[in-house]
């Protein structure tokens, strides 16, 4: 592809698939393994068609044994391969939490720097599809607690496509969280799309009145809220965190210094969540920039209910983001 080609219209799902395809094409050490990635075509149809293209060795269906195949991914990474392990949803990743935390994240340190684990784990995250309490949670902030891991939350087509290559190039374990509701998002992937940086947050919408710090499925919601707020004369700056570990403090503090008011929007739970961490960092590093206390809009502290009206009420929404911003701006003294 050359830079003069027009961008390609596709969904986020397609972009993730193209990212996987290009990784498989570019590096013979790369392979994809997980439940139903092959014959079924991927739980969320991300890997559809890849089995026919790359064969069973490299598109490897696993038994339902999360702990074993994540552990196998760690071993394969140690052995010189570059595995992409897919876990259907982050709720199921808990069956592999021991391998992720006690082995993948700790090995380099425990071995005194001898064994790094170049493993990439992709998983779906998030609610909003009425899948109830065992399929709908957002555990990315929780994983961001663990030293040794990098935690990515692609929320655009470019990131869905490009973060994978960067993660594979990283010498350490990287977790990529793809929000389930983003798979159908349509957009354009530039013809020259390629690896993207996996260390910084990005301002997705400039504004001077208030900063919205967010990621994942709350990014499109926050951008929509910002557009509506702009019509009312309130200019919100929307920062896409992109990487939850390590957090890009510099970009966050720069925006805080510009707007002096902050709303954190996070689909995870509030207590002990990534929003609490970000809020603490702001008060540590930019306290005197603040005109108002940092505000948080998170998911309700409840295992996700099935009923639509309850689930929608549990999640941050465009309306609740707007209301929270209005509150921050109005009460400016």
């Amino acid at each position: 592809m050359s830079t003069t080609d027009p961008p390609k219209k596709m969904t986020y799902r397609d972009a993730v698939r193209e990212g996987i395809r290009s990784a498989l094409q570019n590096d013979p050490r790369v392979f994809l393994m997980g439940e139903d990635v092959g014959h079924y075509g991927g739980c969320f149809a991300v890997s559809r068609g890849l089995l026919a293209e790359f064969g069973e060795e490299r598109i490897r269906d696993t038994p339902l044994a999360e702990s074993a195949f994540v552990g196998a991914g760690i071993g394969a990474a140690l052995g010189g391969m570059r595995p992409i392990v897919e876990i259907m949803t982050c709720n199921f990743s808990l069956l592999a939490l021991d391998q992720i935390m006690n082995t993948a994240a700790s090995l380099l340190h425990m071995s005194g720097g001898q064994f790094n684990v170049p493993l990439v784990i992709r998983m779906a995250t998030g609610g909003g599809k009425q899948l109830a309490a065992q399929h709908s949670h957002s555990l990315e902030g929780w994983y961001a607690h663990i030293p040794g891991l990098k935690v990515l939350t692609p929320a655009t087509l470019e990131d869905g496509y490009g973060m994978l290559a960067s993660a594979l190039a990283d010498p350490d374990p990287v977790l990529i969280f793809e929000n389930q509701t983003l798979y159908i998002m349509e957009g354009e992937l530039p013809a020259n799309a390629g690896p993207v940086d996996i260390s910084s947050a990005k301002v997705r919408c400039e504004g001077k009145d208030v900063t919205i710090l967010t990621y994942g499925a709350s990014l499109p919601k926050s951008l929509e809220a910002a557009a509506k707020l702009a019509e009312q004369g309130v200019h919100a700056e929307v920062v896409d965190l992109r990487v939850l570990r390590p957090l890009d403090d510099a970009t966050i503090m720069r925006s805080v210094a510009k707007t002096h008011r902050v709303l954190i929007v996070d689909e995870g739970w509030r207590s002990g969540g990534i929003s609490a961490e970000i809020s603490a960092r702001i008060q540590e590093k930019a306290f005197y920039e603040l005109d108002r206390p940092v505000q948080r809009l998170c998911s309700a502290e409840v295992p996700m209910p099935y009923a639509k009206h309850l689930e929608q009420a549990a999640l941050p929404q465009v309306e609740s983001i707007i209301a929270a911003v209005q509150n921050l701006v109005r009460s400016h003294g």
Partner: protein
């Protein structure tokens, strides 16, 4: 069928249970298309003989642990079709107040302990229920249903070992429908005879034709009797799901011919034809069952439609208990 003949009433009841599951789920599909039901919904159509054959042999004090494919188990256990339909509608009259949906049906009264959507997640729970029964000298059995996909999870192995080690009254029922979502058993198990895995843990085991409700009943009776004496039992039921894994499945992984072949062994037709040939049931019996069931299913929809939405102000209820601990 080689098993003992049931009498007219017994046969009619088995037919009735299987037809209930079939027609109820067909209605669920209709309501899913009408967007009254959402989320993941997994159908049991084709596998009715398993839940029917087994649960009909249980006593009221026995417990059941099931998976996300559990409409059939819930119906046969005696949960009302209305409370199940209302649950799938997300109404507060549902068996879990609309909090759980299709994958999480619960009913404390009948010791129906869910509705677990983590593959393999129910097995350890069954161990604990059986342990509690044993420690309190109750002669109850816990019947634990799971798919053959769950056999690859560590919990399967850990649970079988515990059950045998602690001599627990558990009946493990593996519903082997050959596929875990779209992955065929041959791609996931080095040894595909599942019942035999019980041998490794000293768990008595048997294989049964899961399309033959009488064969399942007979095997269940023996297995439950063994379990009730404190010897766990693993019963592998060979069956097949006629529908997609869930409502989102394009079924790229199996041929239409394979499905057609299996449909020739439809558990309802198979059973009714045999009973008719043996002069146990008549066409009139079948028609009467269909009429009864049609009414029950229609009533369940009416009940769900008339149900109400739990107020949003109740969103964070049931995170902690509202009664004090005893």
């Amino acid at each position: 069928m080689t098993t003992a003949q049931p009498d007219h009433d017994q046969a009619r009841r088995l037919l009735w249970q299987m037809v209930r599951i079939r027609r109820f789920e067909e209605k669920c599909v209709e309501m899913y298309s009408a967007q009254k039901i959402r989320g993941f919904m997994h159908l049991y159509i084709g596998e009715e003989a398993v839940a029917t054959g087994i649960i009909e042999q249980l006593r009221p004090e026995d417990a059941i642990v099931a998976t996300y494919r559990e409409h059939g188990q819930a119906l046969v256990r005696g949960m009302s079709a209305g409370s199940i339909m209302a649950e799938m509608y997300g109404k507060q009259e549902g068996c879990a107040r609309g909090r759980g949906g299709s994958m999480h049906l619960f009913d404390a009264k009948t010791r129906f302990c869910g509705g677990n959507a983590i593959v393999g997640g129910g097995l350890p729970l069954a161990i604990g229920l059986a342990l509690a029964d044993k420690m309190q000298n109750r002669k109850a059995v816990t019947a634990c249903f799971f798919g053959e996909g769950a056999v690859a999870e560590g919990e399967f192995h850990e649970s079988l070992n515990l059950a045998a080690l602690w001599k627990l009254p558990v009946l493990f029922i593996c519903e082997n429908n050959l596929y875990a979502m779209g992955t065929a058993l041959r791609y996931t198990e080095s040894k595909t005879e599942i019942a035999k895995k019980g041998d490794a843990y000293n768990v008595a085991n048997a294989v049964v034709d899961g399309m033959d409700v009488l064969a399942v009943s007979e095997a269940a009776a023996k297995a439950i009797a063994t379990a009730r004496e404190g010897q766990p039992f693993l019963l592998e039921c060979r069956t097949y799901r006629f529908r997609a894994h869930s409502m989102f499945d394009a079924e790229l992984y199996r041929s239409k011919d394979e499905v057609t072949e299996w449909k020739k062994r439809d558990p309802i037709t198979l059973f009714f034809d045999a009973m008719k040939a043996a002069n146990v049931l008549s066409d009139a019996d079948y028609a009467a069952v269909e009429t009864e069931v049609a009414k029950e299913v229609d009533d369940s929809v009416a009940y769900a439609e008339a149900g109400t939405w739990e107020p949003v102000s109740d969103l964070t209820r049931f995170v902690y208990s509202e009664v004090t601990a005893s």
